[in-house]
């Protein structure tokens, strides 16, 4: 059965870490002398208290000590995401800038899952401390809360493999180093590098320091929170758009491959990677379709068509969700194409959401094989990724994942329809929460009108976001009865 002591101990440590991060964020209100300081202090204290309690329970001898199992890993990961969101929402709630707890929780979950849908009507009146915390939630969630904390502070010594397995993105993994925590640190270094480069580039493009840092954090996390109401459109700079496009693209590449390119200079490894090729292909095809459609059907000239197409297709395929204009003002054909891109996601092993390119590749190849099978009924038709045949079990789990993903999109769609949301918009919200994009389609603009939605809709959205971020099975697994049965 589950290992109560270890779970409590790990959760306790995680909460203490969150408390520490909140305290660090409290320096910003001190610097700007703003009134959200109290929220951070209280949030940190509450988090620390609960964390200490959990540690205390973890230390008590009432429960049996034992090794950590896969089961424990899944429980820790799922619970830690919820706990992090609960305590992470305290600064918003206590400082009073988001007066409803539902909304504060929603904002935090949207942050940690890198969805980037925001409940805040006017972002620009929010103090710097809260804005930074909001961007930081995305940056922490980008690689995974547990991954981030474990890789930065190797404090547990046990169960790292189980924890990483439960939180991993994508069906296959690239091992960089025999020890998983060492691989973790390499990946964090790449993440940090992308973030710093992005911040510096944005600063050079004329963005303020605070905005540069925040946008860099949310770009590298493919999150999409902005410090401005109009998102990237506020800056009105083509250079900023191109810089953001480039770093969204980089963040959508498998970090294991980036490791080989940056630290081992093995560019061939990236170029020959099946997933990377498909990522480029998807970006190219959809950018081309959107750019041509824009050029034909709107008043944009060629360069504006390409720029807008590239920016939005990249923002959506990497599941970042920045906008430089309201694309729902374009003809419906174009935003429906973008709506199709909501599914894909970028490469597995990056900070992206969605289905992940590798699954798209496997799905496509499986479909092509089915046609071949009709012509050659006796043929053995394998699916190859990077020249290697992927095992049937992986293929099956990709297919099952896809079915679950589609099913959840429909469940969400019907749910939003039931609470009175327009048909196209309901589809957009459901898919975008599950893919962690944070935009929608329809006649009412690309931003989701959360203020009109009842509380149940917001709670349901946070559920979809978490399910999408933890790749469906991790969350659904712990609500199946068999998970809780002995053995």
């Amino acid at each position: 059965m589950i290992n109560v002591r270890i779970i409590h101990r790990i959760l306790g440590v995680l909460l203490l870490i969150e408390s520490g991060i909140l305290l660090l964020c409290a320096l910003i209100p001190v610097f700007y002398s703003e009134d959200d300081l109290f929220g951070f202090i209280m949030g940190a204290l509450t988090s620390a208290c609960v964390g200490m309690t959990a540690l205390y329970i973890g230390k008590s001898t009432k429960h049996k000590e034992g090794a950590m199992t896969r089961r424990d890993g899944y429980i820790v990961v799922a619970i830690s995401w919820v706990l992090f969101s609960i305590f992470g929402s305290l600064p918003y709630y206590i400082s009073g800038y988001i007066p409803s707890f539902t909304d504060a929780f929603f904002e935090t979950m949207s942050g940690f899952t890198t969805t980037g849908a925001t409940i805040i009507q006017d972002v620009e009146v929010i103090p710097h401390g809260l804005l930074f915390w909001r961007s930081l939630t995305q940056w922490i969630g980008g690689l995974g809360i547990v991954f981030f904390t474990v890789a930065v502070l190797p404090i547990f010594g046990v169960g790292e493999v189980q924890l990483f397995a439960a939180e991993a993105i994508g069906p296959t993994r690239y091992k960089l180093h025999p020890r998983i925590s060492v691989s973790g640190r390499w990946i964090i270094s790449i993440y940090l590098l992308i973030t710093v480069l992005c911040a510096v580039s944005l600063r050079l493009c004329g963005m303020g320091v605070f905005d540069s840092v925040n946008h860099a954090l949310t770009t590298a996390a493919t999150g999409g929170f902005s410090t401005k109401n109009a998102s990237i459109a506020y800056f009105g700079s083509h250079a900023v758009e191109y810089v953001i496009t480039f770093f969204m693209f980089m963040s959508g590449i498998n970090y294991g491959l980036l490791f080989f390119v940056i630290f081992r200079f093995q560019i061939r490894k990236l170029i020959e990677d099946t997933q990377f090729k498909w990522y480029l292909l998807l970006l190219f095809i959809f950018t081309a379709i959107v750019a041509i459609s824009l050029f034909i059907s709107t008043s944009y000239d060629a360069s504006a068509s390409v720029r807008n197409a590239l920016f939005h297709v990249t923002a959506i395929i990497t599941t970042t969700g920045f906008t430089s204009t309201d694309y729902t003002l374009w003809p419906p054909f174009i935003w429906m194409i973008l709506g199709l891109c909501f599914y894909f996601g970028a490469c597995a092993g990056s900070t992206t959401g969605g289905m992940k390119t590798i699954r798209i590749a496997v799905l496509f190849k499986s479909m092509r094989n089915e046609f071949n099978r009709i012509l050659h009924p006796n043929a053995i038709l394998p699916v190859r990724i990077n020249g290697k045949v992927i095992p049937t079990s992986t293929r099956q789990s990709v297919l099952t994942f896809s079915i679950f993903f589609f099913a959840l999109v429909f469940v969400g769609w019907f749910f939003y329809l039931a609470i009175g949301i327009d048909i196209a918009e309901a589809y957009g919200i459901s898919l975008s929460c599950l893919s962690n994009i944070g935009l929608t389609i329809g006649d009412h603009g690309c931003n989701i009108p959360w203020s009109d939605m009842p509380a149940i809709g917001k709670w349901f959205s946070t559920f979809l976001m978490l399910v999408g971020r933890l790749e469906v099975f991790s969350v659904l697994l712990i609500i199946t009865p068999s998970f809780w049965k002995h053995n």
């Binding site: 050659h376 006796n378 053995i380």
Partner: protein, 445 residues
């Protein structure tokens, strides 16, 4: 010459028989008494029943003063260890049979030399090369390149439509761009002289240069045959995998394999261009549905020689122009030839001839053991003052059953005729009946 062979498997036994006929001192070492028993009583060689990887056994077999140590057990790692041990004991030259393509890469050779392996052979790869060569020029039964490709020798089956039938060779004309080095008629190898003729049904071996290949194709009446584009291989053996990897890009390959597990394994070994089909390659309806009628080449590589021969015959009925069968049973090779199987592959012969060349005293760089004709092809570098340089070829009394096909002089290839004067420094390609190489060496040294 003292030769120790480790492993009395197919290759080992074939090699031992071949060499025992040459009056070499052969010692065969193997753990299995059954395998050795048959040899001991019927061939002139010594057998030692010991493990090829035990120092004691190798000492007993005399590996320490062997001129050549050949490790050809079925297990690659045992071969490598065995050869290393023999080298340690003092064997002059070691050869090990391997199953791994990586080991053969030139950059790794230095390492293998440093651990005491002088040479590696990979019979499956050699067989695959023969198959691919056979498909590239499907109208040619057998194909060899000499001196880096300057000279080629090809075996062609002549049919009624050939232009050069029934004329004595002397009347075909002077300064021909080819030299007919052997004729195989009804299982008998003839090294022809000017009065011999070619007849329909003969397998004729031409020695020529690459630029004259279209001319030979025309006079042999092979112009209307299509080039090979679609290939079906029956049996997913290791040779099949190697063939798939060596095949040029323009060919499409299907491999038919009856064992499901092997099929799954095959998908991991070959790439996307190759289609793996699970089924029996002898089943006509399966072959029909996989388009045998539009296939130019059919290669049968199952473990079973009879199956391979029969499947090739069936494929011929569907109109496949090029059939290749792996026949491991040496007694069936002549039968397969009579049944008009295009090319016969025999791993043992290929491996044995490869090893055979390593132990010839002369400066022979390339000896091929012909599968159909009971004949050897050898290359010699002519030494200063050698017998052969004393007069024109027609005036030197070469033994019967020997002919000089061509030579390389100053990097130029020449076809040898009766009036050719061979000079010191020439690199000559000689064709002779099996086992005669030793006796003709003296003409060139």
């Amino acid at each position: 010459m003292k030769i120790v062979i480790a492993g009395a498997g197919n290759v080992g036994i074939h090699l031992a028989k071949l060499l025992a006929g040459e009056n070499q001192d052969i010692t065969l070492i193997d753990e299995s008494p059954e395998k050795l028993a048959r040899l001991d009583s019927s061939f002139d060689l010594l057998t030692i029943q010991e493990s090829p990887v035990s120092l004691h056994g190798l000492k007993e077999a005399g590996a320490g003063n062997a001129d050549l140590f050949v490790a050809v057990t079925t297990d690659e790692s045992r071969n490598i260890i065995s050869a290393q041990l023999a080298h340690y004991l003092g064997a002059k030259k070691t050869v090990a049979r391997i199953n791994n393509y990586e080991y053969l890469q030139p950059k790794n050779m230095e390492y293998f030399n440093s651990i005491g392996l002088d040479s590696l052979i990979y019979p499956e790869l050699l067989a695959a090369k023969d198959i691919v060569d056979g498909m590239k020029l499907s109208w040619i039964r057998q194909w060899w390149e000499f001196a880096g490709g300057a000279l080629v020798m090809m075996g062609i089956k002549l049919r009624d439509n050939a232009q050069i039938l029934d004329k004595p060779l002397a009347e075909l004309g002077k300064e021909l761009p080819y030299h007919i080095v052997a004729i195989l008629r009804e299982g008998v190898t003839i090294i022809p002289s000017g009065s011999d003729t070619m007849q329909a049904g003969d397998l004729v071996y031409f020695m020529t240069m690459k630029k004259h290949i279209p001319h030979i194709r025309r006079i042999a009446g092979k112009e209307e045959l299509p080039d090979v584009r679609d290939v079906i291989i029956m049996g997913g053996s290791r040779i099949a995998v190697r063939t798939a990897q060596l095949m040029p890009d323009y060919m499409n390959l299907k491999i038919i394999e009856s064992d499901m597990e092997r099929c799954d394994k095959l998908t991991e070994l070959v790439d996307d261009k190759v289609m793996i089909i699970n089924g029996d390659g002898r089943d006509p309806s399966l072959l029909m549905s996989e388009g045998i009628q539009h296939t130019e080449a059919f290669v049968a590589l199952t473990d079973n020689s009879e199956t391979n021969i029969l499947a090739c015959l069936a494929a011929k009925r569907f109109g496949v122009t090029k059939t290749i069968a792996e026949v491991e049973n040496i007694d069936y090779i002549n039968m397969a030839e009579k049944l008009d199987i295009g090319t016969v592959i025999n791993k043992k012969k290929i491996a044995a001839s490869h090893i055979y060349q390593m132990m010839l005293d002369a400066d022979v760089t390339n000896v091929k053991c012909l599968t159909f004709a009971n004949a050897d092809v050898a290359e010699f570098n002519v030494k200063e003052g050698a017998k052969i340089t004393r007069s024109q070829v027609k005036d030197i009394s070469l033994p019967r059953g020997v002919t000089i096909g061509g030579l390389i002089r100053n990097k130029e290839a020449l076809i040898v005729t009766g009036t050719t004067q061979i000079q010191a420094g020439d690199h000559v390609v000689v064709f002779c009946l099996e086992g005669m190489i030793k006796s003709i060496e003296k003409y060139f040294n």
